[in-house]
Symmetry: C2
């Protein structure tokens, strides 16, 4: 890990903590997500992919807040099931991922113990004071948008679990599952434009329900408008599966209709595809989170999936 | 965890990350340490003690930098070996510990998976710009000081592993092993006074060697002057064991002799005992870390312990 900690704030990992200058007028944004071997990734997932995903899922949270990354701290408890060369491969992968996003490693802790490997990452970011995006700022009438394509990672998880897909599609889906792209540039570009935002990690339907509920509204999603990769099957039933699968790490956001052009311009500048998939409507009084999303089928009827996404603690 | 995240920066854990105001003129200090069940604590250690220790060891790193805590993020991967009421007991203990140090919980991640429980904590703190303590600022001639008492936790570990000690001593030692006290007030009081500081976590002898080496000097520790608890045995051989045992979480620091009165006054204000245990002397050219500490016995001769402390990655 020492080799990765080249930023001066890390002090060569020679002190007990990192020390960072903090510019005037910025707020600190902080998030922490873990990946557990056998739970969040399969034991046979390459170490470099695990490293990428660990960084990406945390940066995705910063992106959802409109924050710019300033550094990360790593906690790695390397389990006894790992081959001896795993830590080096992981460090190489993490180094590459940090470089790809130009994020410095500030410090952390590497220990051995346990059977399964447990990885923890804290991502620190900054936003101009008062400009952080949140889930709760949208209103009924706002458009609902999503970045990229939805459902690829769910297909990739199925492939990782042995499902059959045409070889090329299977490879692409697995890549999306193991190598998500945090939408950092888009998140920052949406500050001042989006009224609410979050990253889609537990299923578009469930996450839309959460955003809508936090905003005191209900989300309507037109399944036909949900953006899919060219390799993803697109029937109504397929789309119901895509919107309730997890690990997309796309941004879901809301904005008033009069900002459509501004949002398309911002997304274009961030080199990220965005698609309008529905809108927010008034909430039913006392609606729970699960009742805060309506999925609209191809002929305009309301559909109910078996589940909206991954619920966890 | 949600019940613990009452600070407004945590946003009720409803958003993807915490957002903190950052006052002008302060630097951000960040540290991350993990505890693994069966490695850093025994499986039968009460959940409330584990929670205390997790917070304390991280706050101890902030203390070593002279930083004031501003908040923490928790990563908890709860292993399958834990009883069902363990997470609640852990959360209760963590809540109590956070309250004891007046530190807000900003966010984090709780997952289930693996056999052993792995706990990760990121502690964020602040220091006035340019005033953080480091290991590398001391000079030959500086006094070497330590807070509290040394070796209690090593005795406590022996008790946890089944060693026999008189009942009262055993209980006190176990308490010190499981419930270390981060020296936060002292660390902040030492800004501008200490030329170097660190926390003693891997053994006083080894950590003194690290501080001396980082400062380009050698540490001389007079064993007779090392402060012990009244329940700790104090022969020369006992003291050699105490200075090479870990988990003290006391502060080790250096300062010029002319600051002795100022340091005693600062320590008194911080309600923390400090003791002069030796001094820094010129380094031998090209000395490695292990050669950067000299332990002086009762009759002035130099002693060599079997090991200086816990070496890890």
């Amino acid at each position: 890990m020492r080799a990765l900690a080249t930023h001066k704030a890390a002090r060569g990992l020679l002190d007990d903590a990192a020390v960072l200058d903090w510019p005037l007028g910025l707020q600190l944004v902080a998030t922490h997500d873990m990946l557990v071997e056998g739970v969040h990734y399969t034991a046979d997932c390459p170490a470099t992919d695990v490293a990428w995903k660990l960084l990406a899922v945390n940066l995705s949270d910063l992106a959802a807040m409109g924050a710019k990354p300033v550094g990360v701290l790593l906690g790695a408890a390397i389990g006894s099931s790992r081959p001896v060369d795993w830590p080096d491969a992981f460090a190489t992968g993490l180094g590459r991922a940090l470089e790809a996003f130009a994020v410095p490693m500030l410090g952390g802790d590497t220990v051995r113990g346990g059977v399964q490997t447990v990885l923890a990452l804290t991502a620190l970011g900054s936003v101009p004071a008062g400009s952080a995006l949140s889930r709760g700022g949208a209103s009924a009438g706002d458009d609902l948008w999503v970045s990229g394509t939805i459902g690829d990672a769910g297909l990739g998880l199925a492939v990782a679990n042995g499902a059959g897909l045409p070889a090329d599609a299977g490879r692409k889906a697995l890549r999306r599952y193991r190598g998500p792209t945090p939408r950092l540039a888009l998140g920052q570009a949406l500050r001042g434009l989006a009224t609410a935002a979050m990253d889609v990690s537990d299923g578009l339907a469930l996450d839309a329900a959460r955003l809508a509920h936090a905003s005191g509204a209900a989300a309507e999603i037109r399944l036909a408008d949900v953006p899919l990769s060219d390799f993803a099957p697109g029937s109504e039933a397929d789309r119901l599966a895509h919107v309730s699968a997890g690990d997309d790490y796309e941004l879901l956001f809301a904005a008033p209709a009069e900002r459509r052009d501004a949002i398309l311009a911002a997304a274009s500048q961030a080199k990220t595809q965005v698609t309008r998939i529905g809108q927010l409507s008034p909430a039913s009084p006392g609606a729970a989170i699960a009742q805060s999303v309506r999925l609209i089928g191809f002929s305009g009827e309301r559909l109910q999936p078996a589940r909206l996404g991954y619920e966890h603690e």
